[in-house]
């Protein structure tokens, strides 16, 4: 490569753009003296080493310096403060004494009931039974829903045929399946799982489909150009590209499994169905013991919050950060 340094010159004042154009005949025979010359016309660096140096200088100018991550205490303290305020407000309301104490128990009463339930082991049993069912049911739903979702998203006729049905199933409350499940499966675990599946599977499928719909079309073009087969396209490009949408589908799917599970446990009690949080809720109603009911509600809520905080939030954060989508969000 010739290393001759080219002068970045402006030979004359008249820019080329203001010349009048004389019809068809304008050709290369135009006079060469009056030209405004831009640096970009010829080589602007002198050889490979020079280019490497220039580029690395520009790269470091244009890249942000990495910032060290620090623990943001407001992320922990603010939710705790909000919780304390709510409990105090609850205690304050109860101490005003508008309602009978057995109808609206205070935080301390519920705490006492927690202790009793813990001591006789029914709290641990209920949480464990429900959590285990919820997680197993959810995982099986994921395994069933993911290939179906991918297939529907990738194959247009299938999508057109089954898309409305899947969306409809998501609207149908999964509690509606409880009577059918009891008739088919009796009071067994199968009933509970069936209801969980009917709640979780459609929402996971829908999440995956909408994730796929939001993929920039260019990713597929790149895949085609790179020579991806249909399967490679689905697994190497479409699935990872749809991951943010898929993840929110999974989150929703978990929420649906958990809710459906509670509904099933409240309605279907007895038989070989074990003692879950929903059963505890039902028991509280049978005994007209508001502290048990409150305990069960708080436990159901707590499990939901913990799963979100410990499982989904870290995954989502990591996913978004790696893709550079976290900047400016309020997370």
């Amino acid at each position: 490569m010739p290393n001759k340094q080219t002068p970045l010159v402006e030979l004359a004042e008249t820019p080329i753009s203001t010349r009048s154009i004389t019809g068809q005949a304008s050709s290369i025979t135009d006079e060469p003296e009056t030209r405004k010359v831009h640096a970009a016309l010829t080589r602007s660096s002198t050889g490979n080493e020079d280019l490497r140096e220039l580029e690395s200088g520009l790269d470091s100018l244009q890249s942000d310096a990495a910032r060290a991550a620090r623990i943001d205490w407001s992320r922990i303290l603010l939710p705790v403060a909000a919780l304390v305020v709510l409990v105090l407000a609850w205690q304050f309301y109860v101490s005003l004494g508008f309602k009978r104490r057995d109808l609206v128990p205070g935080p301390l009463d519920v705490l006492g009931q927690f202790g009793t339930l813990w001591a006789d082991g029914s709290l641990q049993e209920a949480v464990w039974t429900s959590l285990q069912r919820g997680i197993v049911g959810f995982l099986i739903s994921v395994v069933i829903a993911t290939p179906i979702g991918l297939l529907l998203a990738q194959v247009a006729p299938l999508r057109r045929a089954f898309g409305p049905l899947i969306s409809g199933l998501q609207v149908l409350p999964s509690v509606a399946w409880v009577p059918a499940a009891i008739i088919w499966f009796g009071l067994t675990d199968a009933t509970v799982y069936f209801v969980v599946f009917m709640g979780a599977i459609p929402s996971i499928i829908n999440g995956l489909i909408s994730g796929v719909d939001q993929i920039p079309p260019q990713y597929r073009s790149v895949g085609t150009v790179l020579g991806a087969s249909r399967l490679q396209m689905a697994l190497q490009i479409v699935l990872p590209a749809a991951l943010p949408g898929y993840l929110s589908g999974l989150k929703q799917g978990w929420a649906f499994s958990w809710r459906s599970l509670m509904a099933a446990e409240i309605i279907a009690v007895g038989g070989t169905i074990g003692f879950g949080l929903g059963s505890m809720l039902d028991q509280g109603r049978d005994l007209s013991d508001m502290t048990i009911v409150m305990s069960a509600i708080l436990l159901i809520l707590a499990v939901g919050i913990l799963i979100e905080l410990l499982v989904f939030a870290p995954i989502e954060k990591r996913l978004l950060r790696r893709r550079g989508l976290l900047a400016g969000s309020t997370r």
């Binding site: 490569m1 030979l11 520009l58 190497q236 990872p240």
Partner: protein, 241 residues
């Protein structure tokens, strides 16, 4: 001749033809700049050459193994690092796992990004992303490289450097390059041959040869730029009401 276009035409639906009777042939190892105003169908022509779209009339001859393609925005996958993006191209080409890593590092080095392999696309500047994208299209190892205004969105300093970079890589790898642009200076800076495409319908109306003298003599290059600009404006003026 790796690329031959014969009476190529393209229309979308019942609309007016986007491309009409396009004729061109591009030699092995040649660097051709495809120049035209907006809406002249140059991207469509490139997509047809890449096999992303089909022509509605005429015939074209492209290498049987297809072409590498570089998009206007880098189009890197955000869930992969720079190196993994390149490795994916190698993987889809069927390169073995152990060889992929070495090859990807070589390519990163070729575009002067040896140290940035573990960065994710959003951590790279626009110019760096385009270089990764260039490395990825080289990873495809196709004789023909199609580029669709790859530097249009970059700042002027970066663009000038990437012109040098692309010229160097073209000389090192001996690829046949078709480079689409609406920038006359860019076309003259890079192409050995500049093809001017008319607008609505797109058709090759004139072509110019750019010699090695134009690369080093700014005055000569400026003169050619003026001539081509004049012809391009004439083409645009035809569409004035």
């Amino acid at each position: 001749m790796p690329v031959v276009l014969e009476n190529l035409g393209k229309r979308f639906g019942d609309g007016a033809p986007v491309l009409d009777d396009v004729n061109a042939s591009i030699a092995q190892g040649e660097f051709v700049a495809l120049l035209g105003a907006s809406g002249c169908g140059k991207s469509t022509l490139l997509n047809i050459m890449a096999g992303l779209e089909l022509p509605t009339s005429g015939a074209l001859e492209v290498p049987s193994d297809g072409a590498a393609f570089m998009f206007q925005d880098a189009a890197l996958f955000p869930w992969l690092t720079a190196r993994e993006n390149i490795e994916l191209a190698l993987k889809l080409r069927g390169v073995g796992k152990s060889e992929r890593r070495t090859k990807a590092n070589e390519l990163l080095d070729l575009v002067h990004l040896g140290g940035a392999g573990d960065k994710r696309p959003h951590e790279l500047s626009g110019g760096m992303r385009q270089r990764v994208s260039l490395a990825r299209s080289l990873a495809q190892d196709r004789q023909l490289l199609l580029m669709d205004e790859p530097f249009a969105a970059l700042d002027a300093i970066t663009r000038d450097l990437l012109h040098d970079e692309l010229e160097r890589i073209w000389k090192e790898t001996g690829r046949t390059i078709v480079f689409v642009t609406h920038n006359v200076r860019e076309a003259v800076r890079l192409g050995q041959r500049v093809l001017l495409l008319s607008s609505r319908p797109g058709r090759v109306v004139q072509e110019w040869n750019v010699t090695e003298e134009h690369r080093t003599d700014a005055g000569l290059a400026g003169q050619l730029t003026g001539v081509i600009t004049a012809r391009l404006r004439e083409e645009i003026r035809r569409h004035a009401k």
